[in-house]
Structures are given as structure tokens and as C-alpha cells.
Amino acid sequence: MSFDWSIFTVHEFRYSRWLVEGLWITLKISAISMVFAMVLGTIFGIGRLSRSRIIRWISAPYIEFFRNTPLVIQLFFWYFGADFLFHFLMYLAGHLGFISPAISHYVVGKIDGIRLYYNRGESEFISGIVGLSVYTSAFIAEIVRAGIQSIPTGQLEAARSTGLSTTQALRYIILPQAFRIIVPPLITQFLNLTKNSSQAMAIGVMELTYMARQVEAYTFRGFEAFTAATIIYLILSLIISFTLNWYDKHTSIENMAKKKEREYSKLQEALG
């Protein structure tokens, strides 16, 4: 066994810089995907509990399908197959009479133009974001559903009977409480997302794992390159979990209550 750690200093830190660039892409793709995954997950999580049968029949298969298929396959699908899907949908819409065939032809033409534009080097990043957010959103939807179900139905009924609409009741009564409960599992999901973003290397997103492999390809020092990348991942997940746990504790109900109490007593003193 012989190790050569000098690869991280040679060529004016060239390979170290690659890893840092990769880390930046990892952070970017994880953060953007998390936002989309939260939005999609909340929509489908609520949709799964909807009273409308059609919405439930759309949400449940969405969740089950994207939870139970491997992420790599999904990424490949979005990367290689998605524009076929889009073409097919436009074609179908044109031929079933939803839109005129001329319009569908025009839109497909425009989309081809856009695709050519993105294929200059951004398309894998976008497919990566789509794949990661859809995959994670299926898990978040289940968490949101569990969170909402943990709030007793009596609260919704009470809110409705005080005159709030269902949307208002969800917005002001149910979701704030549900989100407080689901913060720890959401942290886990965010960590999983950060780790899963390494799979985006399969479609060529130049994130940390991809860069580690690049370093390996240039230097033949696979062990060293991947050790460095692993350490970066470990530090990243530690930082994320510590920050979010701290935030969770900081905004817990007891803490908020204490803060309010302190403010209240200060106010009392000021008023004499």
C-alpha cells in the first residue's frame, strides 16, 4: 500500500480546486432541488389527503412510483427520455384536439430551439434538478402527509366552524403545526438529498463525486481522491445536521414561549 497525497498540492492545487468546484455544484444542486422538492412534496402530500378522488388518484401513484424506483433510473429517464415524453404529449394534445396541430408543431419547434440552447452544457444540470426534486418530493410528500395526519381532525373541524375556509384552515392552523412536527424528518431528507446528489454524476453533472472521479482519471490516485471527497461529504453532512438541529431547537415551542415571556416581562417593567 502506498499513498500519494501530493496530488492535492501539485499543479498549483489544480486537483484540490476541482474538488472545491465540485463541492460548489453539489451545494447548488442540493439547495435548488430541496426548494422544488419541498413545494412538490407539500402539494402531493396534501393532495394525497384531498377529498377529491381525482386529486388522490393523481397523488398516490406519483408518490408510490417515484419512491419505489431507483434514482439513477429516474435521472436517466429525465436526461435521455424526457424530451421524447414532452414531444409525445404535445403530439397527443395536437392530435386529440386539445390544441390545434399547427400550435403543437410550433411549440415543439420552439422547444427544440430551447433544448439546443440548453444542450450547450446546462441540460444535465436541469435534468439533475428535476430528477432529484421529483425523487425527494415523493419522500417529503409522505412526511407531510404523516405530519398533517398527526394533527387531530378536530382542529380542522373547529377551524372550519369558526368560519375559516379549508385553505385558510390549512394555511393558518394545520400546516404551521404540521411543519413543526416534520422538521426532524425533513432534515433527514435534506441530508439524503445532499448525499443522493452524488448520483447525478451518472448523467454528467460535475459535482463532487464526478470531480473525484475526474481527479482519479487524471492521476490514477483513486483511493486518495475518494478519501478526500468522502471527508468533504462527512463534514458537509455534519454541518447541515448541526445547523438544522440548532435551528430546530432554537425555534421549538418551549424556546419561543420563553422568549415571548421574557419580552412580556420586559414590557411590564418598562410600563412600570
Binding site: M1, E64, F65, R67, N68, T69, P70, L71, V72, I73, Q74, F76, F77, F80, G81, A82, F84, L85, H87, F88, Y91, K195, N196, S198, Q199, M201, A202, T209, A212, R213, E216, G222, F223, F226, T227, A229, T230, Y233, L234, S237, L238
Partner: protein, 237 residues
Amino acid sequence: MQWHWDVIPRNFKYFMLGQYPDGPMGGLLLTMVMSVLVILMCFVLGIVFGLMRYSKNKYWRFPAIGYIEFIRGTPVLMVIFWCYFMLPKLIPVLQGRTRFEWTSALVALVAFYGAQMAEVVRAGLESIGRGQTEAALSSGLTYVQVIRYIIMPQGLKNMIPAIVGTFISVIKDTSLVYIIGVAEFTRTVFQVNNRVLNAPMELFLFAAVVYFVPCYMLSKLSIRLEKRLAAGVKVEI
């Protein structure tokens, strides 16, 4: 707009068996064999490390915590690459050989899911409550006997749904080892996609459905088991 669904029946045998009768096993068969092997081996590893993690002795507990936290903070892809580049350095027998992908994939998945399973085992053991351990110890059983006859049988029952859940993740994550060149199902699909080039959507939809069917059935099974086991506990109380 043209569909090319015929690419699937044309390559069906390759998807299912790889080059099996003429060459090494591959395709869906390899995926299934690997998933079963991984789940069996990581269960053993999980029990060992779960018991170490559960133990009160810090010389047992700290190595287990280190292993579990290290693995859980690392992407599975990283573990796979790690084993791929480290195994030939650690085991000189593999050094001259070119085909150790299968071994490193298996070792990587077992190491990764061993840590997940250790957490499952620990949660299962802790669900029993320390009171029973203390009661059993004071009735004169040794620690090993307590684990063997009192805690494990009850804990295993509580673990079953989580183990099924882990099995789903294992099946999904075996798709990742295609990246180091193991010819399992994902790789066969990827190869065919690279060859025909005109049917990516059909091929990857097919692949998604093939993975979806067993995973969905297992997830339904785990929900049913959970309900049934919970009902069993209620009757006992």
C-alpha cells in the same frame, strides 16, 4: 413521433439473465441475487454492530458509533468507489486481477447497509425497554442469555417492517453498482440504450417499472406487517 417498444422483447433475455448461459450472470437475475446476498450479509453485520451500539460498555459502543455515523454521513456511491479503489490495495490477491467489480460492489453494499441495519437493530432492541434486561439479569441469566432468549426474539419481531424497508432500499441501490461496471439490470439497460440510441424513454420506463413492481409489493407488505404486528402487541397487553 415514433415508438420503439420492440427493443424490449428483442433484448429481453439480455435484460433478464445477461450473458448467463454463455458468460457471466447478469441482468435482473444478478440484481436479485445481489440484493438477497446483501440483505442476508448486512443483517448479520447489523446484528453485530447493533448489539455493540446497544451495549453499555464504551469500548464496544464507540467503535460501533464511529462506523455507523461514518457510513451514514457518506453517499452510497462514495462507499462503492471506496471499496472499488481500496480492496485491491488491501487484498493483494485482487491486485493483478481485472474483474473484482462484483466483489467490491458486494462489500460496499454490505458495509453501507450494515450500518443502516445496525440502526434498525438498535431501534428494535431499544423498543423492548431496559427494564426487561435488568429483570432478566437479576433472575440469574447471563448477558448473552438475556439477549439471546429475552431481548432478541421480541426485538426481531419489531424490526421486521424496518428490515423490509431496508430491503427495498437495497434493491433500489443495487442499481448504483453499474457505475463500476457490474453487469446488473441497470447496466444492461444502459448498454442497450447506448446501442440503439432511439428508444431512451421506452427503455428507462421499462427499467423503472421492473424495479417498481418488487419494491411496491415489498412496501405494501411492510405496511401490512406493521399493522399486523401492532395488533399482535395489543392483544398481548
